[in-house]
Symmetry: C2
């Protein structure tokens, strides 16, 4: 174990509270994301709208008894969420050598005004470059690429590739937020560009299809919130299926994608289900793919998990080279600061070489961590 | 193997084409379900609306190359779909001793007119009684109970229980068809009645949440139909989660439910995910359940599968007494007439006693097949 490099393939940031206010162009001064404090805690506010609460996203190190969906402040947050030095210290505490960094704050909100959206996204992506430079072998900052305007998406993808970011994330359900569904042919030039950059594209858990987190969490019926949390990860199966069956992966064989924070234990079942669907239905549906669906998965797909004993038990079916462990620091599902225990628990019956792939080797290969 | 009784826990009927026309009360004469034939094949028509096509539902025995979503006729259908004698012969061909029978035709359509709906449902349920009487140890007809009007649902449930039917099925997403979501407290008297009857209630696959099969199948983009088919079964996870987290199973410990045609390979993962959700989030959500979610599953939940090697490999995590094999005859996913091969393939590494539970023992116990 001591010789394996431990990589968390899914961790998070919460940007510095003044990220979008420093040197803010005059035109965005009133609308740029800022943290506003009140009796209900701190909230991100963008263009007069609440675009995020400080709560579950800064849970790492708290006992579940103390989790809060809202009501925390930036001061109560671990500085590792935004400060690279503090982050590296928290990683050391947890025995984690490198982390792949996903969004926090309002960056994934889809501001309707293209100019404001571009400002929010570019400032965030620039900050990810800066963060990555603080420790290039340990911090792998990923860009966010919004999909509301596909020309804009291509421009920003070219820009972040040039700046050296090693991957990026996309909304798995852009059609719910004013974009086109992923199967639309309008994405073809974008998929070609993704291949050209060689960067892996990630689809991070956002929630169950067509379920709004704010509305759901406002429903006072006991159990509704837990249902949302329980079913959110598996809902990404639609994205995998779309990428495979609509021929995107077949047409773009160098495209690599990552399902993030969606677990792995359902994947063996789902590969089998997709293969059966292909075997039984490809004639009347006039399928455009030529290989069985699982072939595309094993060649181009990846998935991250935090705690998933069922998935690790079935790692060979899920794909030994397709699955990656993570800590989700500093979110509520995080194993921090007890990731060593989580690892010991998950890998006690797993051969060392297989463990090394899942806990670091696969992520290192995917993101070119030398 | 020869001594085990083989029970398909999920098979289907297609009702006789004149089921709703025989002795039809005058008031329903023009609106009762009938089969109309045209150049595009046979369709069920109810109240001037198409409510079902003859196609994938009568695929058993066809090669996948010959599957058609529409365009078949009643004449081309295997009579086993509606005739008990022919059915028993088809079961003998396949080595199946007993079958649990689910819907076909327009019975699960939710006619807006309560009188028409009641006529359609009662005539169907009466026919299920008749079919079951043709071979009580081999044909287990289940009732359909619509949920648009919960008083009507209770009346019909009482009626079918009195007639001796051994179970019934419910729409897993009634809120998509004008009913209330399953978590609504309006269902409480209904759940109490289900417990009182002792009958297991089934939720049969209907499609992914908020995806309409007719609209989806009309989308000409290649791969959309396969995506619908691939993701439909796993979408039932929302129903399990709702039954567990909103406290329905905790308040009604004698209530037993069955997930039908939804596969089992994702269940080990999902139980773990629900338990983690409970462990991490029960404090701030003020959970109303007291046991970990998997406890309710193992005590009250069942699931059927057709082909699911990943699920059988993880049968102990899914629950040896909670999973049931099926043929899905005569639908497109059916293994008929090669169910013996499917069984051999799935159970070659499974001890005989465990196999016996999954391929018949569990269903026999659930439906009281002596």
């Amino acid at each position: 174990m001591a010789t394996d490099r431990i990589v968390s393939a899914d961790s998070h940031v919460n940007p510095p509270r003044d990220l979008w206010l420093r040197d803010c162009p005059a035109q965005f001064k009133d609308r740029a994301p800022r943290v506003e404090s009140g009796p209900m805690g701190d909230f991100w506010v963008t263009d007069q709208q609440i675009t995020g609460a400080i709560g579950l996203d800064s849970s790492a190190g708290r006992k579940p008894e103390d989790f809060k969906p809202t009501g925390l402040t930036y001061k109560e947050m671990r500085p590792g969420a935004y400060d690279p030095k503090a982050r590296l210290e928290d990683m050391d505490v947890d025995g984690v050598d490198a982390e792949v960094l996903y969004f926090g704050g309002p960056v994934t909100q889809q501001a309707a005004d293209p100019a404001l959206r571009t400002y929010v996204v570019q400032r965030y992506n620039d900050w990810m470059v800066e963060l990555s430079k603080a420790a290039p072998t340990r911090l792998v900052g990923l860009a966010h690429i919004p999909l509301l305007d596909l020309d804009e998406a291509q421009r920003e993808l070219r820009r972040v590739a040039k700046m050296g970011l090693r991957g990026f994330h996309l909304d798995p359900f852009p059609d719910e937020r004013g974009g086109k569904p992923l199967w639309d042919s309008a994405y073809e030039p974008f998929w070609s560009l993704v291949e050209e950059t060689g960067l892996p594209m990630s689809f991070h858990i956002v929630g169950p299809r067509k379920a709004n987190v704010t509305e759901t969490f406002a429903n006072p019926t006991p159990g509704i919130k837990e249902t949302f949390i329980a079913i959110a990860p598996i809902s990404i199966c639609e994205t995998v299926s779309t990428l495979i069956f609509t021929g995107i992966l077949a047409r773009h064989p160098k495209l690599r994608f990552v399902l993030v924070e969606c677990g792995i234990g359902w994947i063996p079942y789902f590969l089998e289900r997709m293969d059966q669907t292909f075997n039984k239905h490809r004639f009347w549906t006039k399928s455009v793919i030529t290989e069985k669906p699982s072939t595309y998965w094993y060649r181009q797909g990846y998935a991250t998990f935090i705690q998933d004993l069922a998935g690790v038990a079935e790692r060979h079916r899920a794909g030994l080279r397709n699955i990656m462990w993570s800590t989700d620091y500093p979110h509520s599902d995080s194993t921090w600061p007890k990731s060593r225990e989580a690892l010991a628990n998950h890998f006690k019956d797993v051969p060392a070489d297989e463990r090394a792939l899942i806990t670091g080797g696969n992520a290192a290969a995917l993101y070119g961590l030398s």
